[in-house]
Amino acid sequence: MTIERETLEMDVLLVGAGPANLACGLHLTKLIAAYNERSKQSGTKPLDEVNIAVIEKAAEIGAHQLSGAVLDPISLRELIPDFENEGAPLEAPVGEEHVYFLSEQGKIPLPILPPPLRNHGNFVVSLNKLTRWLGEKCEAAGVNIFPEFPGTEMLYDNGAVIGVRTGDKGIDKTGNPKPNFEPGVDITAKVTVLGEGVRGSLAKQLINRLKLDAGSDPQVYSVGIKELWEMPDDRFAPGSVIHTMGWPLDSHTFGGSWVYGMRDRIIDIGLAVGLDYRDPSIDPHHEFQRFKTHPLIKDLLGGGKLIRYGAKAMPVGGWYTMPQLTSDGVMIIGDSAGLLNGERLKGIHTAIKAGMLAAETIVDALIKGDFTRNTLGVFDKKLKDSFVGSELYKARNFHQAFDRGRMFGLITEGVSVLTGGRLPSKLPIKAGHEHMRMLKADEHTDRYAGLKYDDKLTFDKLTDVYYSTTHHDEDQPAHLKVADFNICVDQCTREYGNPCQSFCPANVYEMVDAGEGKRRLQINFSNCVHCKTCDIMDPYQIIDWVPPEGGGGPNYRNM
């Protein structure tokens, strides 16, 4: 089938409408206006009209955003100095804060908050609302915003990136065009910025092709499982913050929980589970359900009602895992570039700052008319010289220490915080899926035997998925591409017990009876909440997450 494609010419193309790219788009419009104002006064040539487009795979801006979130306002303040009065959707300033180390029934409060966990001056926000608001600001400033258009392929010319192809629409499940088939469009641009968030599907293609990670450690990730609860009373004030470590995660599993108070008697609660655990039967959703049965949480949520569910991965490797951020015609920012500070569990402020710095570099490139790495490469340095660089550098050994188990992690982390990140040497790190250990012959342990779903406090996966309001057109090819199904039924069952069934928080992967005593992998792709865990944690790295038809996926509100 040869497909005729239209081309849309832009100057700057931002892929992914997250805080990184929306900050980039908004800042660009301001910098361009300021430059043109200056050139009017000095009589030099202003920039021609600069066409900026943002494409986003979700049906609405913000619908695929899921975060904690406690926002460090440092960079939002720089982007929109008067953000409170301009109507930024903030839940509340952070108020009372607690950190506990949990055992199955008990809790030990940490008497002093470790500095990375101190949140005075920060705000509890819903990232999904904040993103929506930034999207409106961008649109008002003249940025073209295109929800429902995922980028599916990078376009190159002689090794330089010249834009992105968007996904075809109207393909049926056998791969043939339907009557309303709408081919994807080639959007060309002088600069393409990938701000696709964690484990970006285009970023993955680009980094592999151009070997942008040649000098860095493999990225490591955590996945956050989150629910919103509506409470009957004001028991947990907006802005209240609890973090916990320890139970229910075992000592080989990195992670911890958060509980944040939102407006309107809503409690935001979640558990981050390191995607470098050992036991292949670990199920982050189940760990989270168990977590809620701890007396501290059970009491807190008693009488409340589940109203939302979702999950999303985050990159936590930090400094040593950052790829090269630029190449000819292209830049990578935000979570796609691994700019999240894993020690503080914060990436919104670094994403916004990176977007702003990228905008500065793009304006320089537009003025010079040079979009090669010679000009764009300044961004790599600018970022490292900014607070983003110094934050990430300070935390550079944080996850690497946990890589060796929790106790080692806690001790080295303590030393590391006290010494500003200085450890005797750089700790080595390996990719998360390589930590998963193989099953011993005839190993049958049911980690979750004691876990019951009472539909009040604890919910099975399918019920939870309902609360993510996820939707995909069923008549399309699955967007989880498994390179070799034979590995699933044979080798993986034996070696790891098909962990995809456990790590996927949305019940997408199911080993089902294929008759004649055989089993096969069924992919319920329409449940997928786009968390990217399978792409990350599959021990054979044969699952490739690609964007489904535009608009498909979760519809997160207030997450």
Binding site: L8, D264, T469, N555
Partner: protein
């Protein structure tokens, strides 16, 4: 041929609904909205007719500011211009008659051959706005329309009746048709369409602009209470041979539980 399409924005299907604090409607915070399904088919039909016969497609929507999103979607798909009835005075217009009065008033000076509406909206499901508009504008109308064939000054339409029966009727134009979901295949908005939509007119109309006051928009009918279906558990054993029991089960699922 000029076609007016009436469209309404409704909460997205599969939304998690909560009842508002007044107990009379849902809590509208934190839910997403979309074009009501049947209206989307009405729009698609209008665009297809325009592609065949030329003319203009004008969309009309009464709703709060967020309704602009659905209006823009219609323009991106190919409608030519839009009228947005947007005024706090319209907030009280919650029954079909009041909404229809506003739409009819807004269309008074428009030239059209057809007015299309969805069969019924996905939220209230009254299925009446279109018919009342037709009455107020003195137009012939047909409901549950499955196919539209314009002729010189008339339009032939196929209507869906009960149990697989259809009916063809001919109406003089201008006429109003209420469109059944699924009569065509919806198109996708294209990037170029979205860009082009930015330059299209969305005329905001206030009640006073069309000579209406809040008295004209008083609803004759109000919602007393909104509540989620109350769950009751009932267990029933179906006796008989497996094949018979299965048939009975299917029947129950279809007609009692209405799940298949």
């Amino acid at each position: 041929m000029n076609i007016v399409v009436c469209l309404k924005q409704v909460p997205k299907k599969d939304s998690i609904l909560r009842i508002g604090s007044d107990g009379k409607w849902i809590d509208e915070r934190d839910i997403s909205y979309e074009m009501s399904e049947a209206d989307a088919y009405a729009l698609e039909e209008a665009l297809r007719q325009k592609e065949k016969h030329g003319g203009e497609v004008i969309v009309v929507s009464l709703g709060p500011e967020r309704a602009r999103q659905s209006i823009k979607e219609a323009l991106a798909k190919g409608a030519d211009r839009a009228i947005h009835l947007f005024d706090s005075v319209f907030d009280t217009a919650t029954d079909s008659a009041a909404v229809a009065r506003a739409i009819s008033a807004a269309l008074k000076d428009e030239k059209y051959d057809l007015i299309l509406t969805g069969l019924q909206s996905d939220d209230y499901g009254f299925a009446q706005v279109g018919l009342i508009v037709a009455e107020q504008l003195g137009l012939p109308s047909a409901t549950i329309v499955m196919e539209v064939q314009p002729e010189d000054s008339a339009v032939r339409v196929k209507r869906e009746l009960e149990s697989g029966w259809f009916q063809w009727v001919r109406l003089p134009m201008p006429a109003l048709l209420t469109i059944q979901s699924g009569i065509n295949q919806l198109r996708y908005a294209t990037l170029k369409g979205i860009m082009a939509a930015k330059k299209k007119e969305i005329r905001e109309v206030k009640a006073a602009d069309i000579g209406l006051t809040s008295d004209d928009l008083k609803p004759g009918q109000v919602i007393e209470r909104a509540y989620l279906p109350e769950k009751t558990k009932r267990t029933e054993f179906i006796e008989g041979k497996p094949a018979e029991a299965a048939a009975k089960l299917v029947e129950k699922l279809r007609f009692d539980a209405r799940v298949i």
